[in-house]
């Protein structure tokens, strides 16, 4: 029986809470099972993300990390289990299983993708304006006419987008087509697009893959700022253990679709099962 991660294990929570008061649950994944034909991508996965934390998911290639993220954001529909999301500590929980992806975005969950999935034909600005999509009201008629309310709306949201642009320091890229940007910048634009959504929960799938240390540092700073200054709960998939150790509050480890460990970065790093399946005797 795999070790359960987070509040699902009531006893562990009670124990933990005795020591320090726990932030309330933001995302609760419970018994999620997902298979494709014969492949079990996820097998009875359970974990629990608390408001305001940076939660990392690690695990070998093919362990099901991306599949888990996809299940949360509605792209995959698990055969079993529940995923519940609580936007704010006092808010009513929302079930995410079977919810269409765009409806998941509407409750405040934004994400980035493992292999950059930007709208390549568009400029950076247009990509970010799309991030504002759910906050805008324009319809075919108003957009086609444009004059009046629609123009005001566009300008209002353009201002919001500019905030994100400032924050991520991509001012000089505004009018560039994203397809021609260097890889690292594309990753940053993808983060920007997710932030333009004003999310409460941010899901990042390997945001720092393919970057050198310098660029990872930048990215790390953005992730931390988003988390600390904007108070966005963040779920992070990453293979660079340095990044994971430094940024995350808690870590869950998946292997063959099952969660094999969970805890603070240091606990996880010391876990023999994790070393065996994932880390190897790295150094």
């Amino acid at each position: 029986m795999a070790e359960r991660c987070g509040a699902y294990n009531r006893a562990a929570v009670a124990q933990a809470q005795a020591q320090e008061p726990l932030a309330s649950t933001c995302l609760e994944v419970n018994g999620v099972t997902l298979s494709f034909g014969g492949v079990h991508a996820l097998d009875d996965v359970a974990l629990d993300v608390r408001h305001g934390e940076v939660f990392a998911i690690i695990g070998p290639n093919g362990a099901g990390k991306t599949s888990l993220l996809n299940s949360i954001s509605g792209l995959y529909r698990p055969q079993q289990g529940s995923i519940t999301y609580t936007p704010a500590p006092e808010a009513a929980p929302v079930s995410l299983v079977g919810r269409a992806p765009h409806k998941v975005a509407q409750v405040g969950i934004a994400r980035s993708f493992q292999n950059i999935e930007l709208f390549r034909g568009m400029t950076v600005l247009e990509n970010l304006m799309l991030g504002r999509h759910i906050h805008m009201r324009g319809n075919v008629l108003s957009c086609g006419v444009y004059w009046g309310p629609q123009r005001r709306e566009e300008i209002r949201h353009r201002a919001a987008v500019e905030d994100v642009i400032d924050f991520l320091e991509i001012e000089n890229l505004r009018h560039q087509a994203v397809g021609t940007l260097a890889y690292g910048l594309q990753k940053r634009v993808e983060l920007a697009r997710a932030l333009a959504l004003d999310p409460k929960l941010l899901l990042l799938d390997e945001p720092m893959a393919g970057m050198n240390v310098e660029e990872k540092e930048d990215m790390a700073r953005f992730v931390l700022d988003v988390n600390e200054e904007w108070g966005v709960t963040t779920v992070l998939i990453e293979h660079d253990m340095g990044v994971v150790m430094d940024l995350s509050d808690r870590v869950a480890v998946l292997d063959f679709g099952r969660s094999i460990a969970c805890g603070t970065p240091d606990e996880v790093r010391a876990d023999p099962a994790v070393i065996h399946a994932y880390l190897g005797d790295a150094e």
């Binding site: 393919g210 310098e214 540092e217 940024l247 994932y278």
Partner: protein
């Protein structure tokens, strides 16, 4: 074995990416090519392998020589036939082919059938996981498995020179370790010369015989791994070490950064 002399590459007739780049790879060695995003590493590899053409890129100045022959005007298929094989960035497996068919496609230039079977066994020896995935389409493999497949395809061609573009991208630590070991083995056991582009500088320098660091379309620094590791800029920006050789923490949010000088 391979040398690039003052190579200039332009995309779409306007975007100048390589600005007079020169580098050399010696027979039987592993050369590492490091650099920031957008420095032009992938472009360099494509300039060697002839894959610029489909992207509207062109070597406009300088030349690429392989075993004493100028190859920058040759079509990609001729270059492969001469023994240069590039493992492209982003895996690029043939999604609707099985892993085995992907490997056979890699052996396209190898003529004899017996050799193909043998090569297949060798690849399965390196990556037993690929054999296990049997008949499922390669598009459904996980990222790591696809990366193994991409390297496996290169092995099938038995190239003299292998160009590897970020082979460790997106791989779990254990696998990164394994991939680097395999690269080293290929180099040692089969005598394959390797030009390795990597973001994981620590590891790359560990197995390389020589290294180049490029930025903005030029080589800004070169040397043996030991020399490079000694450079302050390399330490800070590529290895993530503090001045005293400690690993920096990503938590140390720093809004000011020392500028790179590339003084050695």
């Amino acid at each position: 074995m391979l040398s690039l002399n003052n190579v200039e590459v332009i995309y779409n007739d306007v975007i100048l990416v390589l600005k007079g780049l020169s580098l050399k790879v010696e027979q039987g060695q592993i050369a590492a090519l490091l650099g920031t995003n957008g420095a032009g590493k992938s472009t360099t590899l494509k300039a060697i392998s002839g894959l610029l053409h489909p992207e509207d890129g062109e070597v406009t100045d300088g030349n690429v020589e392989f075993e004493g022959i100028q190859i920058d005007k040759l079509p990609a298929e001729d270059i492969v036939r001469r023994g240069i094989f590039q493992v492209m960035e982003g895996r690029r497996v043939f999604e609707h082919l099985t892993p085995q068919e992907n490997l056979l496609a890699g052996a396209y230039t190898a003529r004899d059938k017996g050799g193909t079977d043998e090569a297949l066994e060798r690849v399965y020896g390196y990556f037993p996981r690929l054999k296990e995935r049997g008949n499922s389409m390669a598009g459904f493999l996980s990222g790591g498995e696809q990366q193994m497949l991409a390297i496996g395809r290169a092995l099938m061609a038995r190239p003299k020179l292998m160009l590897l573009d970020e082979p460790s991208l997106g791989l779990a630590p254990l696998l990164v370790q394994e991939i680097f070991e395999i690269i080293q083995r290929i180099n040692r056991e089969e005598g394959t010369t390797i030009l390795l582009v990597e973001q994981n500088a620590t590891r790359a320098l560990k197995i390389a015989h020589y290294g180049y660091i490029m930025e903005g379309g030029r080589v800004v620094l070169e040397g043996t791994p030991a020399e490079l590791q000694d450079n302050a800029d390399v330490k800070e920006f590529y290895l993530g070490l503090t001045q005293v050789g400690q690993r920096k923490s990503y938590r140390d949010v720093k809004h000011y950064r020392r500028r790179k000088r590339w003084l050695s």
